[in-house]
Amino acid sequence: MTIEQTQQQIIEEFSIFDDWMEKYNYLIEMGKDCPIIETQYKTNNYLINGCQSRVWLHAYFDRDIVHFSADSDAVITKGIVNLLIRVFNDHSPEEILKSDTTFLDQIGLKEHLSPTRSNGLLSMVKQMKLYAQIFQLKVNQQVNE
């Protein structure tokens, strides 16, 4: 599935919920499926600091695609982290760099990415894009060699 298709699927999943409690319940469940960051990477080096909840993110590049793993100490944040990983995981750097996170607006979670929310998510998205940029540079280098 392309990134856009995954985003569309998520929007459809959330469209059946009538209220916030149902959305949050679903997010909490979703957080349980998050590809968990390996223990050796759950350190300050991979910590994306937010004011209130913390997010750890790791990525590696293998066979032209990017693999993310993450964790958070707050379960709702972890659910949103998993949504983002679902969308961006196993895609090329170029595809990741081309796409955005407006799908979160459509499921009403835009507030979680505002700078004032200070939960590390905004920084995490930036970090994911940064990883993609670095891996893209590697791809370009290989092409030039």
């Binding site: 916030w20 409690m21 949050y24 909490i28 909840s53 707050a74 709702i76 944040t77």
Partner: protein, 410 residues
């Protein structure tokens, strides 16, 4: 004997327009009063009236509006002076808020009293605004930053305080009431002990001004700072009381218009108190709004309000204790209207998000008091804080929401 007027909560609530609103289609339950309070109609109207009819720059002009504005402004200063019982209105400095006041003191009182190798003392429960300015002063001057420890119940460790007093800090700054723990510190005693060694004491009254009647002469504090917006007055105004002897001796903090006497190329002389510390155009409408808030509080009665809030807080503690796995952060003997708590391993951010969607405003996180979070080894707390317009029904709604969040997140 004075007839006690019973506290009429319905009549009080009607005075606060912001309480009428719906949030996510639910009636707003506003329990974040330690962050800021809602404003009564009279305060809102006072600000509006200033801009509609009276706006002018004060202290400078000879025209009618300026004269009237000046009179109104200085009347407000006298009202504040009476409210906290200062000796003279020269001891009332208007600032932008408590943070501004603490920065003023760290800079100006710091310059006056602190040298390399000296010490400054605060406590471990301070808000960043009464912690960081002093810490940075010590860094800059290579002075010692002393922090009095906090007990498991969330009170100042008075033995440690006494021990640190022996190091003869040049300045001590203490919160009257903790914005996280709700603890009311025994500041009269702490001030008395400090004064044995002639050490001036600054009191952060941001959370206490709304809780009890303040009498700075009875407290004998050297400085007392509070913010208008935490006592039903507009944002952008703070009051710094300082004993005249200190304010006279302190160098100015900010320079510019209003605080000068004569200015020439070669030299400048400074204005008398309180203007020496009030550079630039003041936030006149906010000061007038503050005066309105003071009159509002005094009309209802400080004692009535305090008694009602005490009942609210006791009820809240009692009901919250029913929640499985609840842990109160801070269990002081004397508590103002702030309750911080956690539930088992639930992250306060998660619970806060759910409680928010039920129309309830509480605060989660470290509340600008990271040192106390570190002391208790926690990432943050959930905090509910009460004002004169909260009700017992709101507490019931809040506790139901807490139970619901606990269920969803367990």
């Amino acid at each position: 004997m004075e007839k006690r007027i019973p506290f009429d909560i319905r009549a009080v609530r009607l005075q606060f327009p912001a309480l009428e609103q719906l949030v996510y289609n639910k009636p707003l339950v506003y329990l974040d009063n330690a962050a800021t309070t809602q404003k009564p109609r009279v305060v809102i109207d006072r600000v509006k009236a200033w801009y509609e009819l009276e706006n002018s720059n004060i202290h400078r002009g000879v025209h009618y509006l300026s004269q009237q504005g000046t009179i109104a402004f200085e009347n407000a200063r006298q009202t504040v002076a009476n409210f906290i019982n200062t000796n003279s209105s020269r001891e009332i400095i208007f600032t932008k808020g408590t943070t501004d006041s603490m920065n003023l003191l760290a800079s100006s009182l710091g310059k006056l009293l602190v040298k390399e190798g000296d010490s400054v003392m605060v406590t471990g429960m301070e808000h960043h605004s009464n912690f960081v300015p002093w810490q940075q002063l010590c860094v800059e001057l290579k002075a010692n930053f002393l922090v009095a420890g906090i007990t498991e119940t969330g009170e100042v460790d008075l033995d440690h305080y006494a021990e640190l007093l022996e190091k003869r800090p040049k300045i001590i700054s203490i919160a009257h009431v903790s914005n996280v723990l709700g603890t009311i510190n025994p500041i009269e005693e702490m001030i008395r002990l400090a004064h044995v060694y002639d050490i001036p004491v600054v009191i952060d009254g941001a959370q206490s001004i709304c809780h009890q009647k303040i009498d700075v002469q009875a407290l004998d504090c050297d400085f007392f700072a509070f913010s208008g917006h935490k006592m039903y007055a507009p944002m952008g105004v703070g009051v710094l009381f300082g004993k005249e002897k200190w304010l006279d001796a302190m160098p100015p903090y900010q320079f510019g218009g209003e605080m000068v006497n004569q200015v020439s190329i070669d030299e400048t002389s400074f204005n008398v108190l309180p203007f020496k510390f009030e550079a630039g155009t003041p936030n006149v409408s906010a000061v007038l709004g503050l005066e309105s808030a003071i009159n509002f509080i005094e009309t209802i009665g400080n004692e009535s309000i305090a008694a009602y809030k005490d009942q609210l807080i006791q009820y809240a503690l009692q009901r919250l204790a029913e929640v499985n796995g609840i842990k109160f952060i801070g269990n002081p003997d004397h508590r103002a209207s702030v309750i911080s708590f956690l539930i088992d391993e639930i992250h306060p951010y998660d619970a806060g998000m759910i409680i928010d969607k039920l129309g309830i405003a509480i605060r989660t996180g470290h509340h600008c008091a990271q040192p106390i979070m570190e002391r208790f080894g926690i990432p943050g707390t959930m905090r509910a804080s009460f004002a004169m317009y909260n009700t017992f029904e709101e507490i019931d709604i809040f506790v139901a929401a807490v139970k619901k969040a606990a269920l969803m997140l367990s």
